[in-house]
């Protein structure tokens, strides 16, 4: 699983790390596959992705091209079903019924069940071996908070993978995040890194230093 809504809230540093790794045959669960040549779009060009499960691959025109060339399998889900399937995976729910998609091509071949007189379609939970996500701040225990609409799929993915790696702007001492405002409690998070590749108004940039005052201590 890879967090983000397009590039917003995507773990760009971790994705870059993956582009440098000798892996292939990946199944990626993510709303999109980045943009052409950005974010997950780089992994697509490298043909490391065998299958993608998401809701809106249209944001990267190269996905459709790769699909037509038979280079990638795509599984399309309505965006709410995608989010809910991850939540189910993370919360130990095996599957659920939603009205979304009933009577459309995306419900073809899926079980339909009437509940209180309305038709619902059965959808299975989604889980992943690894989730790479983007948060704003982590504390040293791994508690996370997010920044504005960069939250999107990240908190739900944090619950739904065996190994969860979070990329953050800053790591603060335990106790600095209020117990009431923590969105992802630390039990969901396995590893932390500080973001080096970030989304700005001018596009994706590399930064040598992270946002910490004592940057030297954390970024070499």
């Amino acid at each position: 699983m890879v967090g983000g809504f397009g590039l917003v809230g995507a773990p760009l540093t971790l994705i870059e790390g993956l582009t440098g790794k000798d892996v292939d045959g990946l199944t990626i669960i993510s709303n999109n596959l980045g943009e052409a040549g950005e974010g997950l779009g780089v992994l697509l060009r490298q043909r490391k992705i065998q299958k993608a499960i998401g809701s809106y691959f249209t944001s990267n025109r190269e996905v459709g091209e790769a699909f037509q060339r038979g280079e990638i399998d795509l599984q399309l889900l309505p965006q709410g079903t995608l989010a809910e399937a991850m939540r189910a995976g993370g919360a130990g729910i095996g599957g659920f019924y939603t009205r979304t998609g009933v009577g459309t091509e995306l419900a073809q071949g899926k079980e339909i069940r009437e509940i209180n007189g309305e038709p619902y379609v059965f959808e299975q939970a989604l889980k992943a071996d690894v989730a790479i996500i983007r948060a704003h701040k982590a504390d040293t225990l791994g508690n996370l908070i997010y920044y504005k609409t960069a939250r999107n799929f990240n908190p739900v993915m944090a619950t739904a993978a065996d190994l969860v790696i979070a990329e953050v702007d800053e790591i603060v001492a335990a106790g600095e995040l209020s117990a009431e405002e923590i969105v992802t409690p630390h039990l969901f998070v396995d590893r932390l890194i500080v973001a080096k590749k970030i989304l700005t108004k001018e596009g994706v940039i590399h930064r040598k230093r992270c946002a910490r005052v004592d940057c030297e201590a954390c970024c070499q």
């Binding site: 699909f67 709410g80 079903t81 939250r151 908190p155 108004k201």
Partner: protein
């Protein structure tokens, strides 16, 4: 985009805006729907975007991490809140959104729409459209009346895959406003400058001529 096209879109957006009454929570789709917000002044109308924000407002200072579902920069109003995609679609599917304003590629004569896929092209994107159609209490479609080739978008039957079996509640084009009652299109209003003849000629779908004002 030509300035005529532009003018048409603004006209439709303004008409859609006048349909909104507070207090209500409104989700705006990509394209013409996004334009609706600037014609709304009622503070009791709150805009929701499915990527996780209630309280969308016009952008003041651009922030790459504060965007709407079309990935365009937006602002947050006082009293706004952020939440995850799972929570956001819980709001949508759970019936907590009063109005969704969506674009459409085609509308059939029962008011059902197709807006996510074109036969012959790879089907690779759906986004939140299907969720909004099942979940929003009221759905308004804003669209140009004709395709670029001059064919009616209001058809007897959609030739593109349907987005939902649910009929929308209202269709606003540059020519007319239709309400959908019992899966039937009712022409309730002519848009400024449009004539009944024009609407009849430009509409493939059967519709009932309601007691409309022009």
């Amino acid at each position: 985009m030509s300035s005529i096209e532009n003018g048409v879109q603004e006209l439709i957006a303004r008409r859609a805006a006048s349909e909104l009454k507070g207090p209500s929570v409104v989700n705006l789709g990509i394209g013409i729907p996004t334009l609706v917000a600037k014609y709304v002044e009622d503070e009791l109308i709150h805009f929701h975007t499915e990527n996780g924000l209630l309280g969308v407002t016009e952008v003041e200072e651009e922030d790459p991490n504060l965007v709407n579902a079309g990935k365009l920069p937006v602002g947050e109003r006082v009293g706004a809140s952020f939440f995850s995609s799972a929570e956001s679609f819980g709001m949508i599917r759970g019936g907590h959104i009063d109005v969704a304003i969506l674009g459409a590629l085609q509308v059939d004569e029962t008011g059902r729409i197709a807006n996510w896929a074109i036969p012959g092209k790879s089907i690779i994107g759906v986004g939140g459209a299907m969720d909004l159609l099942v979940g929003a209490k009221k759905v308004i479609v804003t669209t140009s009346h004709l395709t670029k080739d001059g064919n009616s978008k209001l058809m007897k039957t959609c030739t593109f895959p349907l987005t939902s079996t649910r009929s929308v509640d209202m269709i606003i084009t540059e020519l007319a406003v239709f309400t959908v009652v019992n899966e039937q299109l009712i022409l309730t209003e002519l848009m400024p400058g449009a004539t009944l003849e024009q609407v009849r000629e430009s509409t493939e779908a059967d519709f009932v001529e309601g007691g409309f004002s022009s």
